[in-house]
């Protein structure tokens, strides 16, 4: 029988610390395992590595026979995970959050499953409430619902009962049986009574090493406490012994899933769900477009104050100011679409979602494009008014839309890249602005052609440069995006 999950010599280094070291074990389908250990023993790191959120420094992880590193879409589709950061959007309602997960995981009978889960987790009366309005315990229930919704074959929960009330805790085993009964289930906890109630087996970690792997005496928390203490102290009876582990030397492709199992229509719906989610969040929070639009107008004002422009040069300067304001909006906004995910802790949800990395890039770049196009049109009107230049023309609007696409293609790539880097606010302008300058140069030159400052025909090669730049960066980013999000 192929295990639901396996670790082989799994070692993860976090900065200068070895968080887990040389872990080898299997989790069988339907097996419930408690992951125990003191704070800092490596429980969360192990769960994150099995989920595919963390690349092993040494060793491998497998889910249903497929190697988790460079995870296939199909592999990610089999994992349900709930960590310390809830994978929910604060400004979406409970049902919208669940519908998003159903769309990205391509869940069959999504509406029925959402109804059942919200009913079983007593969330049905909160369906129209935004996640930010829920109590900590209700948010924990929503996080459980999100992990269970895809009908996972491997369920990984990090302290799932931490904020739950007594009644929900008591029903947790029953709920998991109902929604992921055949899944391998690994959960980290410090509550040994609950561990004894839920699990048949325990893995004990101590300073990153697996020191205990034994059967749990059902319902006997006191006995489990003694066993864990014995394992940590290294008493031979309880120390981790090598079990018979599945042989992965056989052809992995034969046991793995191979293909994503998603049709083109499924992929299109996944992307539409991501784009729709971002637009809905923007509509509700009004976080990005108004701020960027205001920034672009401020740029126009600053430029007009900074330079004394002779009357005959005004059209040329207006074109430059228009594109410079858009370039600066790209630098700020390009980072925002990914930084917002990172700040909310929902970036993990995107990484775990069974969406092709190229598709994810396309969705985020599309959102960036829509935001920048809106800001660009706003800039166009403000430059037209403040510089008294007839910019409100179809050809200039077309160039701005093309330029917004080019800026979005490069901005989304660098925004994703820098989202997880320290001091990203300082770094992103340094990285993004130089690469974006060809768009600025091309956009200004093409606009000068449109305005008749240079020959009208000269705008076409520059528009071509914008289109080529957009295509090159979009293609490059689609190929490289899986590397940005890690293995």
């Amino acid at each position: 029988m192929t295990p639901a999950a396996s670790a082989r010599s799994l070692t993860c280094r976090l900065g200068g610390t070895l968080a887990i070291r040389e872990l080898t074990f299997d989790i069988d389908p339907g097996e419930r395992i408690a992951l125990l250990g003191a704070n800092g023993s490596g429980k969360t790191t192990l769960l994150r590595a099995l989920a595919g959120l963390l690349s092993p420094t040494v060793g491998s992880t497998f889910v249903c026979g497929s190697r988790m590193s460079r995870a296939e879409v199909a592999t990610r589709r089999m994992v349900g995970y709930s960590g310390h950061n809830p994978h929910q959007y604060d400004d979406l309602t409970v049902r919208e959050n669940l519908a998003l997960v159903a769309a990205t995981f391509v869940v069959d009978d999504a509406s029925d499953r959402i109804d059942h889960l919200t009913h079983d987790l007593a969330l049905d009366e909160y369906g129209r409430r935004r996640a930010r309005e829920l109590s900590r315990g209700l948010q924990q229930r929503l996080a459980l619902a999100i992990a269970l919704l895809p009908n996972p074959r491997l369920l990984l929960l990090d302290e799932p009962e931490a904020a739950l009330d007594g009644a929900t805790r008591a029903r947790l085993g029953e709920i998991i049986d109902a929604h992921a009964g055949s899944a391998g289930f690994l959960f980290a906890t410090h509550d040994l009574d609950r561990a004894a109630a839920l699990a048949k087996r325990a893995l004990v970690l101590d300073r990153g090493a697996l020191v205990g792997d034994f059967e749990v005496c059902r319902g006997d928390g006191r006995k489990l406490l003694e066993d864990v203490a014995g394992a940590v102290e290294g008493r031979s009876r309880l120390a981790a012994r090598p079990r018979n582990t599945f042989d992965y030397s056989a052809d992995l492709d034969g046991t793995g899933q191979g293909t994503s199992g998603l049709s083109l229509g499924d992929s299109a719906r996944q992307l539409a769900a991501i784009v729709g989610k971002d637009l809905r969040l923007e509509w509700r929070t009004r976080e990005v477009v108004p701020a960027l639009s205001l920034l672009s107008v401020l740029m126009v004002v600053a430029f007009s104050l900074a330079f004394v422009v002779p009357a005959e040069d005004v059209p040329a300067v207006a074109a430059g100011v228009l594109w410079a304001s858009l370039a600066f909006a790209t630098v700020v906004g390009g980072m925002r679409v990914f930084a917002a995910e990172r700040d909310q802790g929902t970036m993990e949800a995107l990484i775990l979602a069974p969406i092709s990395r190229a598709g994810l890039y396309l969705a985020k770049a599309s959102v960036n494009f829509l935001f920048l196009a809106a800001v660009g049109l706003f800039s166009m009107v403000s430059v037209m008014i403040l510089f008294d230049v007839a910019l409100l023309r179809w050809d200039v609007a077309g160039l701005l839309i093309l330029g917004s696409a080019a800026f979005a293609s490069v901005g989304s790539l660098y925004g994703a890249l820098a989202a997880n880097v320290r001091a990203r606010e300082l770094l992103i302008p340094v990285l993004l602005l130089p690469v974006s300058l060809p768009v600025l140069i091309g956009g200004v030159a093409a606009t000068l052609g449109s305005l008749g400052v240079t020959s009208t025909a000269s705008q076409f090669p520059w528009a071509g440069l914008l289109a080529a730049f957009c295509a090159i960066f979009a293609g490059l980013a689609a190929m490289l995006f899986e590397h940005i999000l890690g293995d």
Partner: protein, 234 residues
């Protein structure tokens, strides 16, 4: 093995020294003085050779990054980051020599000419590449993200090369790589080829030294990792 490697370094150093000496001799003694610009034109040989090294370096950053992402071999990351360091140094020298030359010929150290501007953009891109590496502590993430920046940044290199064709510029058009053949007089062409060859040898030598240095840095990092493993086992 060490002796062989040492011998080859010494051989390469000697060859670079001889080639550089020959190049310097040819620049100042063999190549004729350009009638309009005078002796300042002799900067051209070093200026163009250094620009060639910068292009070569950035190409190596691109190749190193692409192969690193495909194979995840630290060696290719070392090649990429060594090349980036050398590329930034030589781009800086290109900008400085261009400035010296421009001051005499154009009467200005800097002009917003297409070639100059795109060269400055390239300098910013690869300084950013080196900065990024300093901002990421985890080695694998650092290598991965730097590789992506190295690959994406290379998109501007062809724009820089083609800028003299796309824009009307003050910067001279290519005199060697032309469809209708080189336009330089033979003594100047010979001097240029020898100088380019000498700088290419210098580049190979610098790459070897820089890579050896980078290998030591990686080895220290690996030793720290092994130490962590050992400490945990004790």
């Amino acid at each position: 093995m060490l002796a062989g490697g040492s011998r080859s370094i010494w051989g390469l150093t000697a060859a670079t020294f001889i080639a550089m000496s020959a190049a310097i001799y040819m620049i100042f003694m063999y190549a004729p003085m350009e009638r309009v610009q005078g002796n300042i034109q002799r900067l051209f040989y070093a200026h163009m050779s250094m620009a060639w090294i910068a292009y070569l370096s950035f190409f190596m950053v691109f190749v190193g990054g692409a192969i690193y992402l495909a194979r995840r071999s630290a060696k290719w990351d070392r090649i990429a980051r060594s090349a980036a360091t050398i590329g930034v140094v030589f781009t800086t020298l290109v900008l400085i020599t261009g400035c010296l030359w421009g001051t005499r010929v154009w009467g200005a150290c800097w002009t917003w000419d297409a070639r100059l501007t795109t060269t400055l953009i390239l300098w910013f891109i690869y300084v950013g590449y080196l900065m990024l590496r300093g901002y990421i502590q985890e080695p694998q993430s650092r290598r991965r993200l730097a590789a992506i920046v190295g690959i994406a940044g290379f998109v501007v290199v062809p724009i820089n090369f083609l800028s003299v064709y796309w824009w009307r510029t003050l910067h001279p058009a290519p005199t060697v790589l032309r469809a209708d053949g080189p336009t330089l007089p033979p003594p100047m062409l010979a001097t240029l080829l020898v100088t380019v060859f000498a700088f290419t040898l210098l580049y190979v030598l610098l790459m070897r030294h820089q890579m050896a240095l980078e290998r030591l840095i990686d080895e220290v990092d690996d030793m720290q990792f092994q130490l962590l493993l050992t400490e945990r086992k004790l």
